[in-house]
């Protein structure tokens, strides 16, 4: 049913259509509205056959999801930012045990300094946890990806994280078509677990694996991730056929025909980028967009195919690897260098752009300036979009005046302690 609805509510309703049997979560901004809505749906029996479990922390949320999943239940949770970091130990266990848990990530910056606004540092920080990660451009895609996520997770016995930009999507009210229950039931059959903890037939799940087999277990987990590169497009195709909507699958292309400059990004920023690209196209600029929907597993072949005709690639990232720069851009560089598609003519240069950290708006005006710089070859090796240089100049100046080797003394002076002078 098409309705004008908050993103969080659309998420909760789409999850409810998937008939989860256990929902366990701990509230944290900006995820709160999702789990509030789900608890209400359970309480009002609009979501039946589901137990909503109040837990005391995010660590407990993931632990309960693991317990529910090994007991054969379709399990769901949602989190954000610091809460996600708090559950990380269990996040790896869910993946290592091959449990098809679905989790919504309401993407938010990581502290310190504390910041409740959006970027993607939280989910990106755990990109190698063994979870599938999918990023949504808008709330329709959020709803549709959740329905696909359960199917993908259960087909592969792998957990799936659906990432939606906090506030920008969770708190945006826009029109979303929430699929009917019958249509979702036809698409997503009941969960049939591959392994179940059953007192009648006792088994051990999660045994210790020593050096004689641990490498092999990890290798098989890697193969399972690569298998997802086949399964995700299949599920996306089936969804598109049944529901008439394209959710992106592995990657999505926009105006890539004859594009010399290709902008790559993940999540809700793609909408603003597409508008800016339309404006640039109107000015005669040959520019297009490659959106990454699935970031884990990394769809290297699909990305290289999409970048085949590009003369330059600009990657807009909502996360920063301090001391390195871009994260997505580095992975794209490696993929391009290894791809047979670029053996003859060489891979196009990849320009990382860090944008939107801690909720800094990514505006069309800033994107236009960025596109102009990229096309005129004026981008630096690492760009911070809309960085307020006045705010940092004073501090950077102070750092450069401090003699090398005296940083510790400087800090001691800052806290009022005089260091012993060598005489």
């Amino acid at each position: 049913m098409l309705k004008q609805v908050e993103g969080s509510r659309a998420t909760a309703e789409a999850v409810a259509r998937c008939r989860p049997q256990v929902v366990c979560a701990y509230p944290i901004s900006p995820q709160t509205h999702i789990v509030e809505e789900l608890s209400q749906l359970v309480k009002l029996a609009e979501l039946s056959g589901c137990e909503y479990i109040n837990v005391e922390s995010e660590f407990a949320a993931m632990s309960v999801a693991i317990g529910a999943s090994v007991a054969g239940a379709r399990a769901y949770t949602a989190t954000s930012s610091q809460g996600f970091l708090f559950m990380v130990e269990a996040v790896y266990n869910a993946a290592g045990l091959g449990l098809p848990i679905v989790m919504t990530m309401a993407n938010r910056a990581l502290g310190a300094p504390i910041n409740i606004w959006n970027d993607q540092s939280d989910s990106i920080s755990q990109r190698d946890s063994g979870w599938i990660q999918m990023y949504a451009e808008n709330n329709q895609v959020v709803a549709d990806l959740h329905i696909q996520a359960f199917k993908i997770a259960e087909a592969l016995s792998l957990p799936v994280m659906v990432c939606m930009d906090g506030f920008i999507l969770t708190h945006a009210v826009e029109q979303v078509d929430i699929p009917d229950q019958e249509a979702v039931d036809a698409f997503l059959p009941p969960f049939v677990p591959r392994q179940v903890l059953d007192p009648e037939h006792p088994v051990t799940i999660g045994a210790m694996v020593g050096p004689e087999a641990f490498m092999e277990v990890r290798y098989l987990g890697h193969l399972r991730q690569l298998e997802a590169l086949q399964v995700i497009p299949q599920v996306a195709a089936e969804f598109a056929e049944k529901f008439g909507r394209d959710s992106g699958g592995l990657v999505q292309a926009y105006r890539l025909e004859d594009a010399e400059t290709v902008i790559v990004a993940l999540g809700s920023v793609l909408g603003t980028i597409k508008d800016a690209v339309d404006d640039a196209r109107d000015r005669g600029v040959k520019i297009g967009v490659l959106g990454i929907t699935t970031f884990r597993p990394f769809p290297a072949a699909a990305i290289c195919e999409g970048l085949r005709g590009a003369r330059r690639v600009v990657v807009i990232e909502k996360a920063l690897a301090p001391g390195v720069g871009g994260i997505v851009s580095d992975e794209i560089r490696v993929a391009l260098a290894a791809s047979p598609l670029f053996q003859a003519q060489g891979a196009p240069p990849v320009w990382p752009v860090i944008a939107g950290l801690g909720g800094r708006p990514v505006t069309k005006a800033a994107l236009r300036r960025l596109f102009d710089e990229a096309i005129n070859g004026r981008l630096r090796s690492l760009t911070f979009l809309d960085l307020n240089s006045r705010l940092i100049e004073a501090e950077v100046g102070r750092l450069s005046e401090t003699p090398a080797g005296r940083y510790a003394e400087q800090r001691l002076q800052d806290i009022g302690v005089v260091a012993a002078e060598a005489r």
């Binding site: 309705k3 004008q4 908050e6 900006p30 409740i116 606004w117 959006n118 808008n138 506030f167 920008i168 708190h171 945006a172 009210v173 826009e174 029109q175 497009p233 299949q234 996306a236 195709a237 598109a240 056929e241 394209d246 699958g249 592995l250 990657v251 292309a253 926009y254 105006r255 890539l256 025909e257 809700s268 920023v269 793609l270 909408g271 603003t272 597409k274 508008d275 339309d278 404006d279 196209r281 109107d282 072949a301 699909a302 195919e305 999409g306 085949r308 005709g309 909720g359 708006p361 990514v362 505006t363 069309k364």
Partner: protein
């Protein structure tokens, strides 16, 4: 060139010059006045009329009494833009004391609309210069808090002001606004808000007729 990787034909969405017909509204108020709810109701009213709408708050640590901003975009086509609204087509000010505290109006488009919740006149509010910058009949004050107190029994001006906005801009109809209010609230609260919105609609309609009549005369 990417089709062979994908199991169904790759669709390039229809493209068109954007921001031509998009109407952007910014609502200023204080925590507790229903600023975010107002933007949502506006988007629901536009949705009821078969249009695309995107409502979102200025994300922050909202608390009672603090300045709050919410946004609503309305368009005939799907809305992809996610930046905060600058250069709005309309600004609604739920608390006139904000006009002295923060800059609500300097980026308002010259052909835009400004609706202020106040029983005072444009001159008394010190908005003469702003009024001069806008087209005639584009800046209107309506005593929404007083109307709400009478119609609703509570000084909550948000839905009432949307009635004034419907009359001022013509972007949404009073009927679809009433439906949106009834979808948001129920019972006496809904009916009180609808009655208040109707009164504000009439008040604003009468005010913007006057300059036109004066010019005609």
């Amino acid at each position: 060139m990417i089709e062979d990787l994908r199991p169904w034909p790759f669709r390039i969405p229809a493209t068109y010059p954007r921001s031509v017909a998009m109407f952007q509204v910014r609502i200023h108020g204080r925590g507790g006045q229903g600023v975010v709810t107002a933007a949502e109701m506006l988007s629901v009213a536009a949705f009821i009329e078969g249009r695309h709408a995107q409502a979102f708050p200025s994300f922050g640590s909202e608390r009672t009494g603090a300045p709050v901003v919410a946004f609503c975009r309305i368009d005939e086509r799907p809305i992809r833009l996610r930046e905060p609204i600058v250069n709005p087509d309309a600004v609604i000010v739920q608390d006139p004391t904000l006009l002295r505290q923060i800059d609500c109006v300097s980026d308002l488009r010259p052909d835009g609309y400004l609706l202020v919740n106040s029983a005072k006149s444009v001159e008394e509010l010190g908005l003469t210069e702003v009024a001069a910058r806008l087209a005639p009949g584009r800046l209107v004050c309506v005593p929404a808090t007083e109307i709400a107190r009478e119609a609703l029994g509570r000084p909550l001006p948000n839905a009432v002001l949307l009635g004034g906005f419907a009359a001022l801009s013509g972007v949404i109809s009073l009927e679809s606004l009433a439906t949106a209010i009834r979808e948001t609230f129920s019972g006496k609260v809904a009916e009180g808000n609808v009655a208040g919105a109707e009164r504000a609609f009439t008040s604003v309609r009468d005010q913007i007729r006057r300059p036109v009549l004066a010019q005609a005369g």
